[in-house]
């Protein structure tokens, strides 16, 4: 602990990290980012051990975007997510056990085992089942915003998407429609530089997704996605604008996924030097250093222990949970029971 600890730090969490964020708030952001990081790391091992079926798209390195954006949202605000949804789900408040159980394909999962890793979601915390079609959320989110506008609520919808989605027609149709309708939407682009293995500079001559906002009369902003406080500050402004009826905003967070695109990706398309440079900017390390500088190393260790304990509980819950009933696979596609389509 440094000797120049501010006097206020004798009381845990009372120091200001930024004008808006005190140490307790910052510690909460840290805890959430660490939870996502450790969730991803532990889930990966469980996957390799054969406990989790399917595939995984993980977000190590991108935690600051999910946590910083969701920190300024209300429970009644909604998000749409992508094939890489674990961080968004946990940041929006999806129950940790229900998320883990969903990855395990258990009945207690947030989608009862029907969704899996790529479709994590829960309406009770304001998250649609994640949309695993690139750009899929960019049009559906306009309907969320439209409903809020028509129902005269002050809710906001956030659409998370990657830079790869910005080359989908859905990105353009969704952003333009949201703009002309002045919908309360924040388009939150996580530019992690690669669409699977393809670098963005091969996919677009415009290096910044935010620049595309100008084409639709929308405000665009580029943010350091590896700094959760910067993310939060930009998201707070954008969400406030959207909530006030000023229309959508396009935020582009420059970030990096430390892991591969999906679980089998050995990342041969990018250099280890590049990876090392981005890991120097690890958002969790950066905030930890800032918190440590304000004085309380002990609480950081406590937080890490709490995160591991919570994950232990979630994994145990998932392991102990019952499998879904096989026959439930055949129901639930329609709201009303329909007779046709049952094959012998």
């Amino acid at each position: 602990m440094s000797s120049d600890t501010p006097a206020g730090m004798t009381e845990r969490g009372s120091a200001q990290i930024t004008p808006e964020i005190d140490a307790a708030h910052a510690l909460n952001l840290y805890r959430q980012m660490l939870l996502i990081r450790r969730f991803e790391e532990r889930v990966y091992l469980l996957y390799l051990q054969g406990e989790i079926p399917g595939t995984l798209h993980q977000c190590q390195g991108q935690e600051a975007v999910a946590v910083g954006v969701c920190d300024v949202l209300r429970r009644t605000d909604w998000i749409t997510s992508t094939h890489r949804p674990h961080g968004h789900a946990l940041a929006k408040g999806l129950d940790l056990g229900a998320a883990m159980a969903e990855l395990y394909g258990k009945a207690t999962g947030c989608c009862g085992g029907k969704g899996g890793s790529m479709h994590l979601g829960d309406p009770s915390v304001g998250m649609l089942p994640a949309i695993a079609i690139v750009g899929g959320g960019n049009t559906v989110v306009t309907g969320l915003g439209l409903a809020f506008k028509l129902m005269r609520t002050d809710q906001v919808a956030v659409c998370f998407f990657g830079e790869g989605a910005s080359n989908e027609g859905a990105f353009h149709e969704g952003l333009n429609f949201a703009a002309v309708q002045r919908l309360p939407i924040v388009f939150a682009c996580e530019n992690n530089l690669y669409g699977a293995s393809t670098p963005f500079h091969q996919a677009s001559l415009v290096p910044d997704v935010a620049a595309r906002a100008a084409a639709y009369g929308v405000r665009g902003e580029i943010i350091d996605g590896m700094d959760v406080l910067a993310v939060r500050e930009a998201a707070a402004r954008a969400v406030a604008e959207a909530r006030a009826g000023a229309g959508p905003v396009l935020l582009e967070f420059k970030t990096y996924r430390f892991a591969g695109h999906s679980r089998g990706d050995v990342r041969g398309y990018r250099s280890r030097e590049e990876e090392a440079e981005w890991k120097e900017r690890d958002p969790i390390v950066r905030l930890r250093e800032r918190l440590a500088a304000t004085g309380d190393a002990e609480v950081l260790a406590e937080t890490a222990a709490q995160v591991e304990a919570a994950l232990d509980d979630a994994i145990e819950f998932a392991r102990q949970s019952p499998l879904p009933r096989a026959e439930d696979a055949l129901t639930g596609a329609h709201a009303t029971v329909i007779s046709s389509g049952a094959s012998s």
């Binding site: 909604w78 947030c110 989608c111 009862g112 085992g113 029907k114 969704g115 479709h119 979601g121 829960d122 309406p123 009770s124 649609l128 089942p129 949309i131 079609i133 899929g136 960019n138 049009t139 559906v140 989110v141 306009t142 309907g143 969320l144 915003g145 439209l146 409903a147 809020f148 028509l150 129902m151 919808a157 027609g169 859905a170 149709e173 969704g174 333009n176 429609f177 002309v180 309708q181 639930g332 596609a333 329609h334 709201a335 009303t336 329909i338 007779s339 046709s340 389509g341 012998s344």
Partner: protein, 348 residues
């Protein structure tokens, strides 16, 4: 709204366009969560939708509930789906069913799957109205793509062919909690289709009092004992015309309008096939992989021992639609083709 001419019996008769408009207006009055969204549907001085179905509705409901959009089918479908997920009941419009292909991801990957993926926590109550059918508009404005959607679990697929069922089914569809793709034939909206449909009066009695017609129920349009015909849209009217001609030869066709293709009213259709022992299916959608193939397979599975002759399908030939009327009418099911199939089916 144009007042409908009273029929001889004094009953009110409406065109399909009028019946649809009335259904929409009633549902918008009933539930403020119902709204319209699409291209050219409410622009002042505009068309009231590509086929005029929405004419006059902005006078009562205003532009907040009748939302004109950019030409962005993905955004229209996405906005409708998202709003439906939030509890609204949108009726989106894409002008032509051909344009559905612009938003297949929204319809197939999002609308149809959200309920299942969310384990029943969410639903997508929306009705997407889609004009189908040839009308000398060629390959990209005349298709009847119903069968693509019959293949998608999570959707419901309706095909209306008369004003009474148009209104009753549209009202049911708006109140249904599943996404409904609602197909209407361009030539059947109003008086224009009469001569092309074989000189039939396409207006129908539409009661003034409120009523609903359930999704998933077929109707027998003409009772008969010789052969069953299941047909939709214009092919239904051509089947009825063929049935009248064959009646002169003593062949009594039972003509069924399935009205809903997903879920299909197997009970009504199977009962008829078991009675007649013969089945002809007629639709303007193309032959291969068309919904007629699905129906034929089901009848084959469930009613094979009742059949006295092979099932016949009369569908559009497997080519894109040409514009020249003489070519177009060669491609789509004609009265003559349907009649020939019926006669052939009854030979055995």
């Amino acid at each position: 709204m144009t007042p409908a001419a009273p029929s001889a019996r004094g009953q009110r008769r409406l065109t399909i366009a009028e019946a649809l408009r009335e259904a929409i207006a009633e549902e918008m009055r009933h539930d403020e969560k119902v709204f319209l969204i699409g291209e050219d549907i409410g622009v002042p001085g505009g068309f009231g939708g590509a086929f005029g179905v929405y004419l006059g509705l902005t006078d009562e409901f205003g532009h907040e509930r009748i939302i004109d959009t950019p030409i962005s089918e993905k955004a229209i479908a996405g906005a409708a789906i998202g709003a439906a997920l939030m509890g609204m009941r949108p009726i989106p419009d894409l002008q032509y069913a051909d344009f559905l292909f612009e938003c297949m991801d929204e319809l197939v990957n999002q609308a149809a799957k959200m309920r299942y993926m969310s384990n029943g926590k969410l639903s997508v109550p929306m009705v997407l109205r889609c004009p189908v059918g040839t009308a000398n508009r060629g390959a990209q404005h005349g298709q009847s793509p119903e069968s693509y959607f019959v293949h998608v679990p999570g959707l419901k697929v309706v095909c209306i062919s008369d004003a009474y069922h148009a209104k009753g089914l549209l009202k049911s569809a708006v109140r249904d909690d599943d996404p409904v793709i609602f197909f209407e034939h361009k030539l059947l909206y109003g008086s224009k289709g009469r001569e092309q449909a074989g000189g039939m009066d396409l207006t129908a009695h539409v009661p003034e009092e409120e009523y609903f017609f359930p999704i998933g129920r077929a109707v027998v349009k003409r009772a008969g004992t010789s052969v069953t015909v299941v047909a939709t849209h214009l092919s239904l009217y051509r089947s009825l015309a063929a049935a009248e001609e064959l009646a002169r030869d003593g062949i009594e066709c039972e003509v069924i309008d399935p009205l809903t293709l997903l879920p299909l009213d197997e009970e009504t259709i199977f009962a008829s096939v078991r009675k007649t022992g013969r089945l002809v299916i007629a639709h303007e959608d193309t032959l291969t992989g068309g919904w007629g193939a699905e129906l034929a397979a089901r009848v084959g599975e469930e009613c094979l021992y009742s059949l006295q002759a092979p099932i016949r399908r009369v569908a559009s030939h497997d080519v894109p639609l040409p514009v020249a009327p003489v070519m177009e009418q060669t491609v789509v099911p004609s009265v003559a083709r349907i009649k020939a199939a019926l006669a052939s089916c009854c030979e055995g």
